[in-house]
Amino acid sequence: MIDAVGNPQSILLLGGTSEIGLAAVEAFASDRPMRVVLAARPSQRLADAKARLEAKGCAVETVDFDAKALDTHTAIVDKAFAEGDVDVAIVAFGLLGDNEEAWTDTAKAVELAQVNYTAAVSVGVALGDRLKQQGHGSLVALSSVAGERARRSNFVYGSTKAGLDAFYTGLTEALRPFGVTVTVVRPGFVHTKMTEGLKPAPLSTTPEAVAEVIVHAVRTKQELVWAPAPLRFVMSALRHVPRPVFRRLPL
């Protein structure tokens, strides 16, 4: 259960090695240790994350999860719920890809769409079903400002996040009558392994800062948040910039 001041007792991270996802789990764990399920492909990074969380007093379980293996998703989600309620589920897996490759290579484009959109929808349906039965809980989906308006430099990734964003925004409404809060998080440029070597956009941020936004959103049941917060107004303006101007902007 999530208590009166917003402390969860259990958390499921899909994309168990996501830097933002792990930063959020660690931020929750710093306030109070909990049961953690990390769903990811086995790796050294996963083992390290498990050890770090255990050092904070969490009971950590890892589950082998491959976003592309769509037919395994329901079973993996069921497994996480089999041990007890899942108070917070974070959908944090995703690929950035190389935009020039992605829009010219069918296989690359489909891979991005499958991982970022299809797989996110697939786990979203499974999580929605379990959370609905549970009658409470919080579901966090990592979207991106890239999904708010497609840019020439990043539109394949942006299109997948636009799809994810729309799905989870709708899921917010669908699950609300069942006592479940869905939060769509739209970070800007985040300094992570995924964006290493890329030129940071203005208002760039860190996984820890995004994690703080997530923790606050879960505690206060916010349904749509930007990280950092001022991006909300920046994006609101950018969405209305005419195309001839927009294409000349250094974004």
Partner: protein, 479 residues
């Protein structure tokens, strides 16, 4: 033989404890999906709410409970989550609301668990009977009063609610219906149910022993005392002279007047104490509700400025006065004058932090208040009382010592503050009140209630499959 004077019409009475007869037309009770929260308006969850009208309907609902279990709910005055059950079933017990009989001579009342203390008081007072344990509100059901083993300002004399229960009828996890008494063959289950937060079964009916009074008024001594140490010293010295005793204090003023407060203590007024006008109707139930607070308040209504203002006014409104005659609302339930007053805290809700520490650890009260002030938290309703002896119930909250209760709106920094207060309270051998609790850890409850395992064993014996479940039980790992 005692003469039964008051008998409220009850067609079901003789059939209440026998199984339903198959040929009777049966309608299933109302059922709906609802979002439920406690009085603190925090942590809402969704459950299927069923409103049974008979013990048999309760038993049927218990037998039909799904994987997420079932829990009884009364009037929702617990601050946290004991009367919610996310994804499961919640029984709205206010559908079982008959008073079956009132015996004016013996003071024994036989009534359904969904009857409120307010209704009981209204019905019993004309017979000169008084409910011995009254908490800060009358909007509590009998089932809830037993389940939380509530206490009131008279605890130092009469103990908690469970002490006045002569018998209760419990619907068990298997759907069977059993009558329990404090000393009978099921005494262990009786006492596990007192304070058991509804997790041993559903209380459907009870027999209570009330006290005899001459009037519905109190003869009240109110004393303004200008610091905390003296406020506590006075309660230690001569509380025994009074049937009721409680103190309110100001947690905003610092310095030498830190903890200045009002000590209000009273005895039931006798006929001779009343004015001629009051004497005409000495058992009048005088407890008006003047307004209902609308749900329009923004967050942050209680801040340092309004907190200081409220504290000043509350302190000033009651200068020292001995022997004043006060009615029920004035003395017992000043907050009941406004309905739904919890809305005043705004949409984020609030929590009530209540604990008890042993008599020799009165210093903890001061430490807790200082920590709160340092953390910048504002509490306007601060109630301090000295408890008398506890009872046999393993999860009953009261034990000898000091109990402090503060209201704090939900906001930044509250989590950290409460975690620190938990450590201070537990290290002093104290514990938290489950009816108020909304945020602590399972570990804190294990430490505060050393007899938790004993309670769990009794519960497991009657509910091995865990049919009775609540958000509180899941959160604090009680089951």
């Amino acid at each position: 033989m005692a003469q039964v004077l008051g008998r409220i019409a009850d067609a079901h009475e003789s059939a209440s404890f026998t199984p339903s007869v198959a040929w009777l037309p049966m309608t299933s009770p109302a059922s709906e999906t609802r979002t439920l929260h406690g009085w603190g308006r925090t942590a809402p969850t969704v459950a299927t709410v069923i409103t049974p009208r008979t013990p048999e309907e309760v038993a049927a609902a218990v037998k039909a409970a799904g994987r997420r279990g079932i829990i009884a709910r009364g009037l929702g005055r617990s601050y946290g989550d004991p009367a919610q059950n996310a994804g499961g079933t919640v029984l709205d017990m206010t559908g079982l609301a008959r008073i079956h009989s009132i015996d004016a001579d013996s003071g024994v009342v036989d009534l359904d668990a969904g009857v409120s203390l307010d209704t009981l008081m209204r019905q019993a007072l004309p017979f000169g009977l008084w409910v011995p344990v009254l908490p800060g509100t009358r909007q509590v059901t009998i089932g809830g009063a037993i389940g939380a083993d509530i206490h009131g300002k008279a605890h130092h004399v009469v103990g908690s609610f469970g002490n006045h229960v002569e018998a209760m009828t419990l619907v068990l996890a298997d759907g069977s219906i059993r009558e329990l008494t404090p000393e009978g063959p099921d005494a262990e289950l009786f006492w596990a149910t007192v304070g058991g937060m509804g997790l041993t079964g559903v209380i459907v009916r009870a027999r209570l022993k009330l006290h005899h009074v001459e009037t519905a008024y109190f003869k009240v001594d109110t004393e303004q005392i200008d610091n905390l140490a003296e406020l506590m010293e006075r309660q230690t010295r001569d509380d025994e002279k009074y049937a009721e005793s409680v103190s309110w204090f100001d947690a905003v003023t610092t310095g030498e007047h830190f903890g200045r407060g009002l000590l209000t203590r009273a005895n039931h007024a006798t006929l001779a104490d009343l004015t001629p006008k009051q004497r005409k109707n000495p058992l009048k139930f005088d407890a008006p509700q003047l307004l209902t607070v609308p749900d329009v308040f923004p967050p942050g209504m209680l801040n340092r400025v309004t907190g200081r203002l409220f504290s000043e006014l509350w302190y000033r409104k009651s200068p020292t006065k001995l022997g004043a005659i006060q009615n029920i609302t004035q003395f017992l339930h000043p907050l009941d004058i406004a309905g739904e007053w919890n809305r005043g805290y705004g949409p984020h809700g609030f929590l009530q932090y209540q604990f008890v520490v042993p008599p020799e650890r009165g210093d903890v009260i001061r430490t807790v208040l200082e920590r709160m002030t340092e953390a910048g938290q504002v509490s306007a309703l601060n109630v301090l009382k000295r408890f008398g002896e506890g009872n046999r119930a393993p999860l009953s909250f009261p034990k000898p010592g000091w109990t402090l209760c503060v209201d704090i709106p939900i906001g930044p920094g509250l989590n950290e503050l409460c975690e620190e207060l938990d450590r201070i309270v537990l290290d002093a051998g104290g514990r938290h009140y489950l009816a108020k609790e909304s945020r602590t850890t399972p570990e804190a409850i294990r430490r505060g209630y050393p007899r938790l395992e004993e309670w769990r064993a009794v519960r497991t014996a009657v509910d091995p499959a865990g049919v009775f479940a609540s958000d509180l039980a899941r959160r604090l790992e009680l089951i």
